[in-house]
């Protein structure tokens, strides 16, 4: 391949309208996500917010970071980090959400000045004391 063709073949100067269009889309999606957050859909709030954030992230990665136009090896490198992170978080959640089945956790203050701690009346002071001896002092267990 000659110098001329290799240089011109890889430049990918995108039109100004593409950049302005992506930026507008990102701003509109930001407005949508702020607006939607004013309503309470319970669990769906997180789902909607994450779908909007993921859409914004994909736009930034594909257009602003040129992943759509560049060598697909970069896309593989980046996607592998995201997939690994997803696996990392999912496996951790399996562990952390199942701990209640093994330990009888209850909420206890770590720092006495820190806010109004809700004390569950069904869990007695006696139970708290016995648990204190079992758990490390700085435990943040629920």
């Amino acid at each position: 391949m000659s110098k001329e063709s290799s240089q011109h073949g890889h430049h990918h100067v995108l039109p100004l309208s593409t950049y302005l269009g992506v930026a507008s889309a990102l701003l509109i999606l930001t407005a949508i996500t702020v607006w939607v957050a004013q309503f309470h859909f319970g669990e769906w709030n997180l789902v909607v917010a994450m779908i909007v954030a993921a859409t914004k992230a994909i736009l930034v990665a594909l257009i602003f970071m040129h992943l759509l136009y560049d060598n697909k090896l970069y896309l593989v490198v980046f996607a592998s980090s995201v997939l690994f992170l997803a696996a990392f978080i999912i496996i951790t959640m399996f562990d952390t959400l199942r701990r209640d089945d093994i330990y009888e956790f209850l909420e206890k203050p770590i720092h006495s000045n820190a806010a109004m701690y809700q004390v569950d009346s069904t869990k007695t002071a006696a139970g708290m004391d016995s648990l204190k001896t079992m758990m490390p002092a700085d435990s943040t267990a629920k």
Binding site: S6, A57, V77, T96, A115
Partner: protein
Amino acid sequence: MSMNHAAEHPAHLAHHFADTEQQKESAKLGMWFFLLTEVLTFGGLFCAYAVYRAWHPEMFFNAHKELSLMAGTINTIVLITSSLTMALAIRSMQLGDKKQAMMHLALTFLLAATFLVIKYFEYSHKFHEGQLPGRFYTYTGIEGSNPHVFFSIYFAMTGLHGIHVMGGMCLIAWLFFKTKNGAFSPEYYTPIEMTGLFWHLVDLIWIFLFPLFYLIG
């Protein structure tokens, strides 16, 4: 024309690369591997967030009301705009417009500074209220157990992100002066492109930090 010999190569091309294109592709691959490590660095903190939010959903909801939605939204707009000006700085240099590239770099720098100024006001308000991480937490107005956990994660994540913004600003300032001194051309602008990738990643991370901290429904 062959670019294999030292006698012919342009100043920006290192000896061990066959041509400018190969050098640029190598730089980009290296940068993407660095960004992969960045995703995993922040990933550990995102994981901590997921664990503590799953354990204390009500406390997270109550504590997030202490953050300023207005400041967070403005900062999101500022950072998205800075991502646009960074992309336009690269485009200007691709087209050989040095003046416009410098203008776009300066704009990106100013928007990054605006982000940090808003963050400074948010942080100083939190410091004043005693909404600090761990044992420094002294605020008493949030219901739920252990609300300082929320602020520990908030300061760790936005703090690490803020350090990245400062790093990006140093790189952008350096690029501004290099561009001014004529170091870049439509044939060679790799440092601008690599800093651009870094800057877009900083924006990408904020795109997730914003809903997770400011928009908990």
